[in-house]
């Protein structure tokens, strides 16, 4: 039977150009943000002398920039592959990019020109109460910048939603629910469509929540009487932040579903287990965010228990479905290795491995002694640097080498891959070790007792940055040559 809902089509050259432009921009920003991250580690290592106000500005830029760049890279991947199955409008995509870039300018202007250093989480009411360190105008620029980025993503997801519904009839059909719940024997939508549909649903909700707290926080800068309950604000911010950063991984993993088959010759199909995993993910990613609030015991007790238990449950689709499915898929597959496929597979390992320390930290009793230590950046660098970002670079390399496997996996590329892997693992390990010995996160100056592990971490971070620079510069050079 001809599978009319799943057959891919080649995307238009103009769309491919837009994606190359986006991924090049995202890769550059990721590299720049990595350099900023390295500067933070060097400062904590007492190897570089940075005043605390600048340190916290860089920290804010590193956080906001990384989340934004991850979102941008994820959007490029999702758009590229969703384009194979549904009609997406390139004008809307460029509108998204325009909003995104405007937002970036405002965010970085607020930080480095206005001195805003309220962290990317902008916990209410810190942006309005800086102790005289930055002005309300700096906070406002940051807020409007984030709103612009959010509006851009909202436009992006709305267009994706229109495209998906036009092609598959409804979001439920695009999620494969007829196959999952109603025994439909028709072929399920392809994995890229299922994952994209989950992303567009949950991230639309998260961006709306983020916009609400951003607008209230912005008004509060100039009308302090118009305030929001600090606990409600925290809930909105962590709901927004948690969902947004997780969807960057969900968008990136689409590259694995779509590219790895070209290396192994085996199709990646959306079977019932796959569909069940993504439906579970849709619900879990929305409900699990209270694990960020386990030290706010004024929260309803059931939400705190839910935060812990659902953290455990949320690990199951990643381990049992995504990672396991990849291993089953690759088992004696005859896959051809090059830098792109190696980075894509590393991305799944980093994602699965990174959730182990994250899930453990979701245990309330553990959280009481490890929350807000460097254990936290330890686990999120694991599933972002070695997970989401690795997948994004894998996509970039694949795109740069002409959207096909490259043969062979040359020694220089193997060295670069190993540098990225060892640098990333070392950085993560030193973060986790620092969490074990109770080093707080987000401190501009570390006590002398903590500096040794900071320095080891800095060396590994430098290695990861160096390897990234080679990957990014090489990919950009190939983009330029191809043009």
């Amino acid at each position: 039977m001809t599978d009319i809902v799943s057959s891919p089509r080649k995307i238009l050259p103009s769309a491919a150009t837009a994606v190359r432009l986006t991924i090049a921009l995202a890769a550059l920003v990721l590299l720049l943000m990595m350099v900023l991250g390295l500067v933070l580690r060097l400062a904590q290592s007492a190897w570089v002398d940075i005043a605390p106000d600048l340190f916290y500005q860089i920290m804010t830029a590193h956080g906001a920039g990384m989340v934004g760049a991850a979102g941008l890279a994820g959007a490029a991947i999702m758009w590229f592959f969703l384009n194979r199955y549904v009609e997406l409008r390139i004008g809307v995509y460029y509108l998204f990019l325009a909003f995104f870039l405007l937002g970036v300018v405002l965010i970085f202007g607020g930080i480095f020109s206005g001195g805003f250093a309220g962290a990317w989480t902008f916990l209410f009411p810190l942006p309005a109460m800086s102790g005289g360190v930055w002005t309300p105008g700096a906070s406002l620029a940051f807020f409007i910048g984030l709103l612009c980025v959010g509006v851009g993503f909202l436009v992006f997801y709305l267009d994706a939603g229109v495209g998906v519904v036009s092609r598959y009839g409804s979001l439920a059909r695009a999620l494969g629910w007829p196959q999952l719940f109603a025994g439909s024997q028709q072929a399920a939508p392809p994995p890229a469509v299922v994952a994209s549909t989950v992303v567009l649903i949950v991230n639309t909700l998260s961006i709306v929540a983020g916009a609400i707290i951003l607008v209230i926080s912005a008004v509060n800068l100039y009308v302090p009487a118009l305030a929001i309950d600090a606990l409600l604000a925290k809930n909105l911010i962590y709901f927004f932040g948690h969902v947004f950063i997780n969807t960057t991984i969900y968008m990136a993993v689409i590259a694995v579903y779509e590219i790895i088959p070209a290396y192994s010759g085996r199709p990646w199909k959306a079977n019932k287990i796959f569909l069940a995993g993504w439906t579970a993910t849709l619900l879990l990613v929305l409900a699990v965010y209270p694990h960020h609030l386990l030290q706010d015991m004024v929260m309803p007790a059931w939400m705190l228990v839910m935060g812990q238990v659902l953290s455990y449950v949320a690990g199951i689709p990643v381990i049992v479905i995504t990672a396991y499915a990849l291993l089953v898929y690759l088992h004696r597959s005859g896959i051809r290795w090059d830098l792109a496929s190696a980075l894509l597979v590393l991305g799944i390992f980093g994602w699965a491995a990174g959730i182990i320390p994250a899930v453990i930290d979701g245990t309330i009793a553990v959280n009481k002694v490890m929350h807000n230590t460097l254990w936290v950046p330890g686990h999120f660098h694991f599933y972002l640097l070695l997970g989401m970002v690795a997948m994004s670079f894998g996509f970039s390399v694949w795109l740069a080498q002409g959207e096909k496997p490259a043969q062979p996996f040359i020694p220089v590329q193997k060295v670069v891959f190993l540098g990225y892997l060892i640098g990333g693992l070392g950085l993560v390990a030193t973060f986790l070790y620092a969490g074990m010995i109770s080093v707080p996160r987000r401190w501009a100056v570390h006590l002398p007792e903590w500096v040794a592990q900071d320095r080891v971490g800095s060396v590994f971070a430098a290695l990861a940055v160096l390897a990234t620079a080679v990957i990014v510069v090489n990919a950009l050079a190939r983009f330029v040559r191809a043009k």
Partner: protein, 171 residues
């Protein structure tokens, strides 16, 4: 606690890495004709193993309410009021007895802070958020006398890393 958590993490990540390496080592060699072993046969056992472990850990870690005074402490706890403000702590009283239950009632006058108690060896003992408009309570019983350090664990601006205080715990 922290060392055990790190060890469990190390073991599990290492196990996952070994499984990946075992599969990837042979991934580039196609399956022999007639090979019948289903590489997906471990999925169901793995799923149920995770479910059983998850239920067990959830029960063990929640059966005693982790935010409560704990069964080890007895007697009426001494209340210590804690107020954070950028960038200092107001704590009353600051001299406390060892071996007695203490409840810290923690709030903030301005932004969010994190009230973290560190022992003399700089190891974190417990923590709670300090929030404007709310009082979070955290119970703790100091096992031994000494000077304990209070630090801020929620980013609160320029002086976040210097927002510290001492608690003196006597016999």
């Amino acid at each position: 606690m922290q060392e055990a958590v790190a060890l469990i993490t190390l073991v599990l990540v290492t196990l996952l890495a070994i499984v990946f390496l075992m599969v990837l080592r042979r991934a580039s060699a196609p399956a022999a004709a007639g090979a019948t072993a289903d590489p997906g046969r471990y999925r169901a056992p793995l799923f149920w193993l995770l479910v059983v472990v998850g239920i067990g850990v959830s029960y063990a870690s929640l059966v005693e309410w982790p935010y409560g005074p704990g069964t080890a402490s007895s007697g009426e706890p001494t209340t210590v009021t804690v107020t954070g403000s950028i960038w200092s702590w107001e704590i009353n009283p600051t001299k406390l007895p060892a071996g007695k239950p203490i409840v810290f009632a923690v709030t903030s006058r301005d932004v969010n802070h994190g009230f973290g108690i560190y022992d003399p060896d700089l190891k974190m003992l417990t923590q709670v958020q300090a929030m404007p408009g709310y009082v979070n309570k955290v119970y703790y019983s100091f096992p031994r006398a000494g000077t304990y350090k209070i630090v801020c664990l929620e980013y609160c601006g320029l002086g976040h890393h210097v927002m510290a205080a001492d608690l003196t715990v006597g016999p």
